[in-house]
C-alpha cells in the first residue's frame, strides 16, 4: 500500500515536469516555473553520468541530457516499482509478434503512468524540468528500453534537505 501511494505521489508531481525534445509537445504548460538548478547528464551506451543524484525536496531542476551513445535512450524518473512496470511494458512491446520484428521505436511508447520522461536520439540533447517531491526519499532515474536498465542505465535520486 505504501508503495502504491508512492507511485501516486510520483504521478502527481510529474505534472510539474516539463519535457522538451520529443516529448515537448505532450506537455502543454510552458513554464513560469522557477528553475533552481540546471544539471547536465550524459547518456551513453549503457550508462548515465553522473551515476546518482542528490536533490532537496521541492527543488526544481532542469536536466539537460545529451545522448553520446549510438542507441536511442530515455531518461525517466520514478520509483523502483514504477520503473519496473514501465520496463515490463516496454519489453512486451518489443517482443510483440514473433521475433525478428524488433524494429519498433520502443522508446516512443507511453511512459507508463505519466512518469516524467524524455527520449533522446543519438547525438541529441533533450531537457526535462522536474520538481522533487516533498514526501518521498528515494527515486530512480532510468532508461527502460529493453536491456538498457539491466545493463546499468539507472541511478538513485536521494531526496533530502
Amino acid at each position: 500500500m505504501r508503495k502504491m501511494l508512492l507511485a501516486m505521489a510520483v504521478g502527481l508531481f510529474s505534472t510539474t515536469a516539463l519535457g522538451a525534445g520529443e516529448h515537448g509537445g505532450g506537455h502543454g504548460i510552458q513554464s513560469d516555473v522557477q528553475i533552481d538548478r540546471t544539471i547536465s547528464f550524459e547518456a551513453g551506451d549503457m550508462w548515465f553520468m553522473p551515476g546518482n543524484l542528490d536533490i532537496a525536496p521541492g527543488e526544481t531542476v532542469k536536466f539537460e541530457i545529451t545522448n553520446t551513445g549510438n542507441l536511442e535512450h530515455e531518461f525517466v524518473i520514478g520509483d523502483a516499482q514504477a520503473q519496473e512496470a514501465h520496463r515490463r511494458m516496454m519489453q512486451e512491446m518489443g517482443s510483440g509478434g514473433h521475433g525478428g520484428h524488433g524494429d519498433h521505436d520502443m522508446a516512443e511508447g507511453d511512459h507508463g503512468g505519466h512518469m516524467p520522461a524524455v527520449t533522446i536520439a543519438p547525438g541529441e540533447t533533450a531537457t526535462l524540468v522536474w520538481t522533487a517531491p516533498e514526501n518521498v526519499d528515494n527515486l530512480e532515474f532510468a532508461c527502460n528500453i529493453p536491456g538498457h536498465y539491466e545493463s546499468g542505465m539507472s541511478g538513485d535520486i536521494v531526496i533530502q534537505s
Binding site: M46, M49, Q91, H98, G102, G147, E150, S151, G152
Partner: protein, 626 residues
C-alpha cells in the same frame, strides 16, 4: 564526478574479508577444480586464481582425476581439466609457452582470437603442432576483448578435456556494468575412449540414440493426427533411412554434462550477494553438445555473443551451439538460490549448478523437456524427397513456418495455398526449386518478392546480390530451433543480435561463395560440398583484403556450428549495418545463412564444423588468404 575510464566495483573491506573466508571454504570443498571456478567468481578488486597475461606458461599432461565421482584420465592444463582461466588485457603482447607432457603431439588453438596465422594453433594448417616434450611459444598482440576459450586442435583431444576459458579485459569501457563475474564453461565428458566413440558412430549413426520412436509414440501421434498422416510421416522417415529423433549424434547415454568440470550432482555453486549485477560468461566447450541455458526465476540480459558486444537482449533462455560464447547479466534481488540449468538440446541430460548467496544451497531442478521430433523443416534440403507424400503433410510437420509472419504476402496468392491444394501443386516446377531456400524464407522481405519468379527460379539466377546485412531467403534467424516451443518463454534468436555500431569494413561484398554442408548419416561421413577434407585437392582461396559473402547451405538434418579461424564472420541476420560478428555460426537443418568476411588475415586458416566428430570425419577445409 570525474569520468573514470573503467567502471569501478567498490567492495567494502568487510565484503572482501567475507569473500576471502568463503573462498577458503570453497576451494577446500572444490578440491581439484580449476581455481577460476571458485564460488565467488571474479571482480576487478579481487582477482585471484587465474593465469594472467602477458606471460603465461601452460603444461599439458594426462592425469588421473575424479570426474562425476569416478576415476578418469583427462588431459589437464596446469594440472586441471578444464584448464586454468587465461586472463589477458586488450593491448597486451601475449606470450604463452605451452609445454607438451603427453606422449603424442598436441596444440592449443585460441578460439575466436584474431592473430597471425602462425600463432593460431591448428596443426598441419598454420603450424607443425607441439611434439611430446617440446615447448612452443605463442606470441601475439591482443587486439580484442571479451569471453573466448582455448582447446586442443589435435585429433580428438578436445573430448578428453583439453579446453579452458579465456577472458580478455577491455581497454575501453564496455557497454554495461556489473559487480561480479562468473565463468560458466560447459563440456561433455565420456568415460569411453574418444576413438571408440568415433568407431561406434561409424558402425551405426544411431549408436548413442536411445530415444528412438516407439509404438507408444506412434499411437500418440495417431490420436493427435490420425492414422493416415502418421503412417505417411513415418513412412517418409523410414524411406530416408533416418530417424526424426536424430537431434544429437552423441548423447547423454555416454556423456556426463559438466559445468566448470562438475557433474550435475556435485552442484557447482556460484556465489552472489542479493542485488548485485552479475556477469555470466557462458562458454560451450563441448565436443558435440548444444545446450539450452536458463536460470528459472531470473531474466538474463544477453550483452555479448562470441566475445563481441551486442545490444542488450533480455531473455529467459538461450541456445548455445558448440564453441559459441554468450555473456549475460543477471541481477538476483532475493537472498535465495537459483538453478543454473543447461539442458542438452536432445534432452538426454543436463549440466547444472547453482547461483546462491551461500554455499550448500540449491533450488529446484526443472523437469527435462521431451525429445523433439524433427519436422518437415529438417527435410527441406533433401532433393530426393517424394513430393507425393507432401500431400499428407500435417500442420505439426510444418512447425517451422510461422503463419503470423505471412501477413506481408500477396493474399491473392495465399488463398490458393491451403493444404488441400498443395497436393495439386505442380511437382515438376517444384523440384526445380531450391527447397532449402523455401524453408525458412525471410517473411519480412517476402512482401516484395514476385511469386511468379519464385516457383521456377534458382537463386543463383537472381541478378545482383542482396544488400549487405540482409538475411538470405532460407535463413531461420527468427527461430530458436528444434525442441524449443515458440512462445513458451523468451528465447534468444539470431535475429536479436545487433552490434552497437557498424564494423570497420563497410564495403558491400564483391563476390559470393556458396558452400553446402553435406553428410551421409549412415556412414557417418561429413563434408562440405559432398567432399571430405581428405578428398579435396586444395584450399578455398580468399583474395587478400577482398570483401566476400560466404553462403552456407545446410543439406543435412543436423545443426552444424561452423567456425572460421583468423577472421570474423559478420552474420547477415537482417540487422543491416548493425549485423553481429561471430567466430562460430550455427546453421540449422535445411537452413541457408550468410556472413560477410573481410579477408585481411594472410595465411592458411582452418574452417570447419565444430562438432568434433564431424570435423574428424571430414567436415573441414583450409581457407587460404593470399
Amino acid at each position: 564526478m570525474a569520468a573514470s575510464k573503467f567502471p569501478s566495483f567498490p567492495l567494502s573491506r568487510r565484503q572482501v574479508l567475507k569473500g576471502g573466508a568463503a573462498l577458503g571454504l570453497g576451494s577446500a570443498a572444490l578440491g581439484l577444480t580449476p581455481a577460476w571456478a571458485n564460488p565467488w567468481g571474479q571482480s576487478n578488486v579481487y582477482p585471484q586464481g587465474i593465469v594472467t597475461g602477458p606471460e603465461i606458461a601452460l603444461d599439458i599432461r594426462r592425469r588421473t582425476l575424479p570426474i562425476a565421482g569416478r576415476n578418469a584420465r583427462p588431459i589437464c592444463i596446469n594440472g586441471t581439466s578444464p584448464g586454468p582461466l587465461i586472463r589477458l588485457q586488450e593491448g597486451q603482447d601475449a606470450v604463452l609457452r605451452v609445454t607438451n607432457l603427453l606422449d603424442e603431439p598436441t596444440s592449443v588453438h585460441w578460439h575466436g582470437l584474431i592473430l597471425p596465422a602462425g600463432e593460431d594453433g591448428a596443426p598441419g594448417i598454420s603450424f607443425a603442432g607441439i611434439a611430446p616434450g617440446e615447448t612452443f611459444t605463442y606470441r601475439f598482440p591482443v587486439r580484442q576483448h571479451g569471453t573466448y576459450w582455448y582447446h586442443s586442435h589435435s585429433g580428438l583431444q578436445e573430448q578428453l578435456g583439453h579446453v579452458g576459458p579465456i577472458v580478455i579485459d577491455a581497454a575501453e569501457r564496455e557497454p554495461f556494468r556489473y559487480d561480479r563475474e562468473h565463468v560458466l564453461l560447459l563440456t561433455d565428458w565420456t568415460f569411453e575412449d574418444p576413438a571408440r566413440v568415433m568407431r561406434n558412430l561409424k558402425t551405426g549413426e544411431g549408436y548413442y540414440n536411445y530415444q528412438e520412436r516407439t509404438i507408444a509414440d506412434f499411437l500418440a501421434d495417431v490420436r493427435e493426427n490420425g492414422f493416415k498422416e502418421t503412417a505417411q510421416m513415418r513412412a517418409m522417415w523410414a524411406q530416408m533411412r533416418m530417424s526424426s529423433r536424430d537431434i544429437a549424434d552423441v548423447t547423454g547415454s555416454t556423456y556426463t554434462y559438466l559445468l566448470n568440470g562438475h557433474a550435475p550432482g556435485e552442484n557447482w555453486t556460484a556465489l552472489f550477494k542479493a542485488g548485485e549485477r552479475i556477469r555470466l560468461r557462458v562458454i560451450n566447450g563441448s565436443a558435440m553438445s548444444y545446450f539450452d541455458v536458463r536460470i528459472p526465476g531470473l531474466k538474463m540480459t544477453v550483452v555479448a555473443a562470441d566475445g563481441q558486444p551486442v545490444q542488450p537482449v533480455p531473455v529467459d533462455e538461450f541456445r548455445i551451439a558448440v564453441a559459441e560464447t554468450y555473456d549475460v547479466l543477471v541481477t538476483p534481488e532475493a537472498d535465495t538460490a537459483y538453478t543454473l540449468f543447461a539442458e542438452a538440446m536432445d534432452r538426454s541430460g543436463y549440466a547444472r549448478g547453482t547461483l546462491a548467496p551461500r554455499l550448500g544451497m540449491q533450488a529446484e531442478i526443472p523437469e527435462r523437456r521431451r525429445i523433439a521430433d524433427r519436422g518437415m523443416e529438417a527435410m527441406g534440403a533433401h532433393g530426393g524427397m517424394d513430393h507425393a507424400s507432401m500431400a499428407g503433410m500435417d500442420d505439426s510437420g510444418m512447425a517451422g513456418m510461422d503463419h503470423s509472419n505471412m501477413a506481408g504476402m500477396d493474399h491473392s496468392t495465399m488463398a490458393g495455398m491451403d493444404h488441400s491444394t498443395m497436393a495439386g501443386m505442380d511437382h515438376a516446377s517444384m523440384s526445380a526449386m531450391d527447397h532449402s531456400s523455401m524453408q525458412g524464407m525471410d517473411h519480412s522481405s517476402m512482401g516484395a518478392m514476385d511469386h511468379s519468379n519464385m516457383s521456377n527460379k534458382d537463386h543463383s539466377d537472381h541478378s545482383g546480390m542482396l544488400p549487405a546485412g540482409a538475411a538470405q531467403p532460407g535463413s531461420q534467424y527468427d527461430q530458436a530451433g528444434i525442441g524449443i516451443v515458440p512462445g513458451e518463454r523468451r528465447v534468444l534468436l539470431y535475429s536479436d543480435l545487433k552490434s552497437f555500431a557498424p564494423w570497420p569494413d563497410r564495403r558491400a561484398p564483391e563476390r559470393e561463395l556458396e558452400l553446402h554442408l553435406t553428410g551421409n548419416m549412415e556412414r557417418y561421413m561429413w563434408s562440405f560440398d559432398g567432399k571430405k577434407f581428405s578428398e579435396v585437392s586444395g584450399p578455398i582461396h580468399f583474395r587478400k583484403d577482398e570483401r566476400l559473402r560466404l553462403i552456407l547451405v545446410n543439406d543435412t538434418m543436423m545443426e552444424h556450428p561452423i567456425h572460421l579461424h583468423g577472421m570474423w564472420m559478420e552474420l547477415e541476420n537482417g540487422a543491416g549495418e548493425l549485423i553481429p560478428r561471430k567466430h562460430t555460426i550455427n546453421v540449422k537443418p535445411g537452413e541457408r545463412v550468410s556472413a560477410l568476411i573481410t579477408a585481411d588475415a594472410e595465411g592458411s586458416w582452418a574452417f570447419h564444423c565444430h562438432l568434433l566428430y564431424h570435423m574428424d570425419a571430414g567436415m573441414f577445409r583450409v581457407v587460404k588468404v593470399s
